[in-house]
Symmetry: C2
Subunit: 343 residues, 2 copies
Amino acid sequence: MKQPKIKNMEDFASVSGISRPTISKYFNDPGSVRKSTRERIEHALEKFDYRPNMYAVNQNRRLTKNIGVVVPYLSDPFFAEMARNIENLITAAGYRPVLLGSHGDPQQEVDNLNNLRSIKPAGVLLAPLGRTSNQEQLRTFCKEIPTVLFDSNIGEIGEAFVGSDNEQSVGLIVEYLCRTGEPPAFFEMKTPTNPNAIKRHNAYIKAMERLGHEPYLIQVDGEGWDFEEVGFRGGTRVIAARDLPTNTILCSNDRLAIGFLSAAFEAGLRVGLGKSCALRIAGNDDHPFSRYSCPTLTTVSQDYASIAKKSAETLFDLIDSGKRRKKRETTYIEGKLVMRGSA
Amino acid sequence: MKQPKIKNMEDFASVSGISRPTISKYFNDPGSVRKSTRERIEHALEKFDYRPNMYAVNQNRRLTKNIGVVVPYLSDPFFAEMARNIENLITAAGYRPVLLGSHGDPQQEVDNLNNLRSIKPAGVLLAPLGRTSNQEQLRTFCKEIPTVLFDSNIGEIGEAFVGSDNEQSVGLIVEYLCRTGEPPAFFEMKTPTNPNAIKRHNAYIKAMERLGHEPYLIQVDGEGWDFEEVGFRGGTRVIAARDLPTNTILCSNDRLAIGFLSAAFEAGLRVGLGKSCALRIAGNDDHPFSRYSCPTLTTVSQDYASIAKKSAETLFDLIDSGKRRKKRETTYIEGKLVMRGSA
DNA sequence: AATATATTTTTACGCGCGTAAAGTATCATT
DNA sequence: AATGATACTTTACGCGCGTAAAAATATATT
């Protein structure tokens, strides 16, 4: 059995008995060739295992089958999980996901976009860093490449935005907390990294006022993405001070809450909704680890799957239509209350 | 000020006043052109912002400047953190990292390698799934592309392996636990996903025997990568059964331990090393979240930075030398004891 | 200033594939 | 079996860049 080295499409065309242009057509869209032809090609493919040279393929195409996925922080399981969902959708749609994490660094974010630019992606799904993002660069990029933002909404950047409905989510949990105990104080970072934090802040105040309670904010210092650490330090300080008007704390996100939980544990405070508990703590996100904290964390879920689906589909539409949107579309996905042990 | 559209290297050569081959040389290695020339090019670069077409560049090069990084599970902060370290090293060395996660799926792992194949990477850093990996496919891939394995060692696959020294790490913590309390039972999955699990199992037995204690294994069911869940369920069962010969449990990894901790908490058991504590629990890895569990987790660190550095440097050597290793090199990086609250 | 050496320019070809145009074979329909 | 519509083959060109070879120029050395 002779196995000639298949070096290029020409070679593969010879051994498969089909002309090169037809082979080319096949690889661009298997459905575009006659069934009998397709079968012959696929049969040859099994025998010879040839795959087109990606670089040669994409050199001529104006837009490739690549879709960039940029998230602010891959070490955060929230984004890792989101990326996983999105990757699967992209692959299923016949595109190739290119995943890039910005490591919380604005310069890295810009670098990532520049790297993407050079691979001429068909589109990009971008979860921006937020406050620290280089907005001008993002804007320029989005004008060049069809981009859908998710998680964090920034100004009028990108063709569309998909994220969770902070107003609804925070409203939901504030209402729950008020209904089942003392109204919550809101625990957050003084200078939030993320636009969601600001929306949650406002949503908290609004919900409290709607329910006839006085909002109470606990703002802690802390830079960067080490939220658990910030939550821990802030929590320790709050607990030591002992001047809270309430025994219930709503954290701006789950990672802060996990840190706070840790602080409460160290301080010997029981957290939960029983009579023997000194504190109730709730979060926001339904972070993958929230079900294993001690106690398990009561929170509002972000609907990973829906956010991923909606943003991916929006991008596919954008790519297929070939045009840009007349109007920037924003979609807010509702969260669900996740009642667990901590509140 | 006229700003002609720079479409290709030819155009850029004109506006910069340098010949195209020299420009090409510059982009392949800025140091290879005379200083004055380099400055002229860089000056033009600032004015015209041209970047070579990646696809055209790589079409002719036998090997690209891409380095693939494949990890089994990106949603596991351990691998995300490892990937982050490695990415930085790759970028610093002038290569372009291409990060791929296998989502715990052997087929995805094979797909990832195939995708890498088509971008002709200079080399690959691979943390294989382990037991479920398609070994034959991995072997074939590694013969084609210079590959360094890390984290999980599989047979004789790849040019080198870098991972943590399980023998030493487990020895360290077993010794610590025996010295400070009752000898530990070993908590693990019955069918471990990962070669490290097996090594840790053996290291535990060896360490116990060395110290004159009877090894005691607790093996729990559970498939996949949802280790916290496995740990939680297993822990709940173990605690309910109440027939342990010891109050000390060493978990095969931190994620299992975090699940176990959660189970202990739910069962109302105090975990820690004080007299009032019913249980001691320790882990292995120093997972990013272990410092925020309740109580904080005593464990043995894996030296992320060193593992990343050693494996990246090994790959760079391999690429630079252009040859394969005569002998497969394996490096085991020592772990350090991380004493926290749980044991 | 003359020579040797290092760099750059000129010229030219090739990489692997997309794709257009014109001609030929195959298919479905009546 | 004749017809028109599809699908395929042949031929040919171009994409943007790497790279080789020879000629021209700039720099370093004596």
